[in-house]
């Protein structure tokens, strides 16, 4: 069979109406699941898997891929509208998305999230089709030492989301890192900060911490001062994204897509770090840097491009090597194997038609995401019109259900409330929450890879400079730290000059928090 034959046959498989139907169904399920806090793309894919057993292989696989893609985008909807990230990957989206919603520009933020997601998705799919083999062999170079240096570099983005005070950002990040150490020790299996509680053995639930940190403090703030947002402001909720704004963000979207593709191809990183790295790069390069974190539409674009850029790329190790890159693709591998298909290099020869059908289906899924997502945000946008006295208690109840659903644990609901109280304290003391979340995600990766490297090298630190990838990330880290120090010194000099007028931060922060 020639390549053209296979592509032709692949086309034939996708061109059936059922293929498109299952893709649409999958994306719809995914968007809805992603939009419900506590339901992640992984859960939605796991729940859908048993239904695919009785379907033709290509239908089943397209259905699951649709669920996955939709789920990654769906998380941005509650992140923007109610400051409750539906999935960890969309926590970067809340940083600018929610302030926009508060200003009555939820419609604009949602539009931007959708366009950025679809473009990044398309870039990611094209990268998969064109460079899968090359990216996969690059990604396999990443052992624990390379991971460690990459994560160390990623931690420098904390400076970009710290707001006015870098020191407070560091405090927030260290608290996040500390909280992530709760649980059983990786290397020795001993207790760390468990204090005899069986519930703490597995560590703190990620979603519980996330929702506690973002959504619950908003409820506290409303309880303190129960006031509706100005009616005129709310009417702006239906403002759409203008083409100029889109064009200004396009560079960040493309950059974010590539960051997503590269980080997504490396097994074990996931979408959340990609979103944060993309966000921080966009902020660093933007002329509107000062507006990031206060409702900058480019920030939403960058975050969503970063996390959707991962979606196609996680399939790279799966299709090029037969290796699942994350939990979701591990489940999808199950859908291949139940039909006797073996993902990997040989599949191009044995079942090339299916591979090309998947490729065509993936490109199609980006378009379907645009349509389904567009319909979804048109529906969900009305949440911005719900009066706050109904909306905020609803968020409270929804958070409780959602956090429970992640791991079926009432204890996690308690964790969410406790973290929520801490989060409100941090809000009052102007300690930014975003560094906490980044650190909580990256902390275990950093520590585990550090210790795994030392286990490999039998205690020798030389392993951390064992190859070009480690050198590359070390130099990036040094460069980033140098830039941060220079900027901090510059900022403090500027502040010294403008002493009596040190008010821009005061104005903007009270402007973005009308609830206080």
């Amino acid at each position: 069979m020639t390549l053209m034959d296979q592509i032709g046959m692949g086309f034939g498989l996708v061109a059936q109406w059922q293929s498109v139907g299952y893709l649409v169904l999958g994306v719809t399920i995914g968007v809805i699941a992603g939009a419900i806090p506590g339901m992640s793309a992984v859960m939605a894919v796991a729940l859908t898997l048993p239904f695919t057993f009785s379907l033709q292989p290509i239908f089943g696989i397209l259905l699951l891929l649709g669920v996955y893609k939709g789920g990654v985008f769906g998380g941005s909807i509650p992140a923007i509208l109610i400051k409750t990230p539906g999935t960890p990957a969309s926590s970067a989206t809340t940083i600018d998305g929610y302030p926009l919603a508060e200003k009555g520009q939820a419609g604009k933020a949602l539009d931007m999230a959708l366009y950025a997601s679809c473009i990044a998705d398309l870039v990611s799919n094209l990268a998969l089709i064109l460079f899968a083999g090359w990216l996969a062999s690059f990604a396999l170079q990443f052992g624990p030492p390379e991971f460690f240096t990459l994560i160390l570099f990623s931690l420098t983005i904390i400076a970009g989301v710290s707001g006015d005070s870098l020191l407070k950002g560091c405090v927030s990040a260290i608290l996040g890192l500390l909280l992530a150490t709760v649980g059983l020790d990786l290397v020795y299996g001993t207790d760390r900060f468990i204090f005899g509680s069986a519930n703490l053995m597995g560590g703190l639930n990620f979603i519980a911490v996330l929702i506690g940190l973002f959504a619950i403090p908003e409820i506290f703030a409303y309880v303190r001062n129960p006031k509706e947002i100005d009616g005129d402001v709310r009417k702006l909720g239906h403002v759409h994204l203008s083409f100029t704004e889109f064009r200004h963000s396009l560079k960040s979207i493309i950059r974010g897509s590539f960051i997503g593709v590269i980080l997504g191809a490396i097994p074990g990183i996931g979408a959340a770090p990609a979103a944060f790295v993309s966000y921080s790069e966009a902020r660093r390069n933007s002329p509107n840097r000062a507006n990031f974190g206060k409702g900058e539409v480019e920030g939403v674009a960058a975050a969503e491009a970063g996390n959707n850029g991962v979606a196609g790329a996680t399939l790279i190790p799966l299709l090029a090597l037969g290796v699942p890159g994350d939990v979701t693709t591990a489940i999808i591998i199950g859908a291949f194997m139940i039909h006797g298909l073996q993902p990997g290099p040989m599949m191009f020869a044995t079942n090339g038609d299916i591979i090309y059908a998947i490729f065509i289906g993936l490109v199609l899924s980006s378009v379907i995401l645009l349509l389904v997502g567009g319909a979804a945000i048109r529906g969900f946008r009305y949440i911005a019109d719900v009066p706050r006295y109904v909306l905020l208690p609803s968020v409270l109840v929804l958070s409780v259900y959602g956090v429970f659903a992640v791991n079926n644990s009432v204890f996690d609901v308690g964790v969410m409330f406790a973290i929520g109280a801490i989060g409100y304290g941090m809000l009052l003391l102007r300690i930014p929450a975003a560094p906490f979340v980044i650190a909580f995600i990256l902390g275990p990766l950093l520590e585990n890879n550090f210790r795994q490297s030392l286990l490999m090298s039998q205690g020798s630190l030389d392993i951390f400079v064992r190859g070009p990838i480690t050198w590359f990330f070390w130099s990036l880290t040094l460069l980033a730290v140098a830039v941060i120090i220079r900027q901090t010194l510059q900022a403090s000099r500027e502040r010294a000059v403008l002493t009596p007028l040190g008010t821009p931060s005061a104005m903007s922060s009270s402007g973005t928090r009308p609830a206080e």
């Binding site: 020795y188 090597l321 791991n407 795994q452």
Partner: protein
């Protein structure tokens, strides 16, 4: 039929109105199966496939619940402490019920806290090295481990996982003296553990055949040992018995259903008959075969004996090698 549903409706109404449960036929409400590992893992897929096969037998649905954490301990502890009414059961697994109890003194549950109604699935264990490595046989690996133990690394999905004890048991059986000196590399999950061997981060891994099947078929990993008595289809490697290590046949993965120790007899009996029917289901059998597992339903007594034997074997090994977590 009509009478039965009427009686059931009556029973439901009775429980709804009064807190005292009426002694109607088990089950009168949905039965919750707790899976102590995350969605998509071997235990999860196995339990979901089982629940699908069970679905046609009971009028009440089975609700699957993932409670992840601490290598299966969080979910297992939740069931051990659950009410013994038969409405909460556990998909017990080798890691949570024989390896963890053998290795960890501070575990919040004991084997005696459970009532086993049946082990239904057995997974063969396979040891594999990277296809690029010089190691062709177990003897090569053992020679290497004897020469410089710390330079040999085995990957696992964490302390107290089946992967850890499997590698240690194999090395011990093949006469490696300083098993503790061999480097144990704990990773985030079973998939990562297999991937690490392919990448060269670890030297070898011993795990369920299902986790290695795709690597072996793609020619990325080379199997060097299977622990079942019979050779395993798709894995071109000698059995432990053929190399004179029959003791390793105890090293198999398994999944079973267990309730809290005070689970009523009526519920346990019902489960036994459900399982007996489920293992005849064509789709279920087919799915488990694709996943590389053997369906072999044991009676409650056999299950308990099987689990206890494995626990004893692992405990002795842990004691001998000093692997116990302090």
């Amino acid at each position: 039929m009509k009478l039965k549903s009427l009686a059931m409706a009556f029973g439901l109404a009775a429980t709804a109105l009064s807190a005292a449960p009426a002694l109607a036929e088990y089950p009168e409400r949905p039965v919750q199966i707790v899976i102590p590992y995350g969605p998509g893992g071997a235990t999860d897929l196995s339990a979901r496939a089982l629940a699908t096969a069970l679905g046609s037998q009971s009028e009440q649905p089975f609700v699957l619940v993932n409670r992840t954490g601490a290598g299966g301990a969080t979910g297992s502890a939740a069931v051990a402490n659950a009410e013994g009414d038969g409405y909460t059961v556990l998909a017990a697994r080798v890691g949570s019920h024989t390896v963890n109890p053998a290795m960890k003194a501070n575990l919040p549950y004991k084997l005696e806290d459970f009532r086993f109604v049946g082990v239904y699935e057995i997974n063969p264990v396979v040891c594999a090295v990277s296809a690029n490595s010089d190691i062709e046989t177990m003897d090569d690996l053992v020679a290497m481990a004897k020469d410089d133990p710390a330079a040999v690394r085995y990957s696992s999905s964490g302390v107290g996982s089946m992967l850890q004890i499997a590698a240690a048991m194999v090395l011990d059986s093949f006469g490696v003296e300083n098993v503790r000196e061999v480097t144990h590399l704990p990773l985030a999950g079973g998939g990562e553990a297999a991937l690490a061997v392919y990448q060269g981060t670890a030297t070898f891994v011993c795990t369920n055949s299902s986790a290695l099947a795709s690597f072996v078929k793609n020619g990325q990993l080379r199997p060097i040992l299977v622990t079942t008595a019979e050779p395993l289809e798709g894995f071109d490697a000698p059995t432990a018995a053929s190399l004179g290590h029959e003791d390793l046949e105890a090293l198999v993965g398994w999944t079973g259903i267990a309730g809290p120790d005070d689970m009523p007899d009526e519920a346990a009996e019902q489960w036994r008959s459900w399982l007996a029917e489920a293992v005849k289901d064509e789709t279920f059998l087919n799915f488990m075969k694709q996943a590389g597992s053997k369906i072999d339903l044991m009676s409650p007594e056999e299950s308990l004996e099987f689990v206890n034997n494995q626990y004893q074997t692992f405990s002795r090994l842990v004691e001998d090698l000093g692997l116990r977590v302090e």
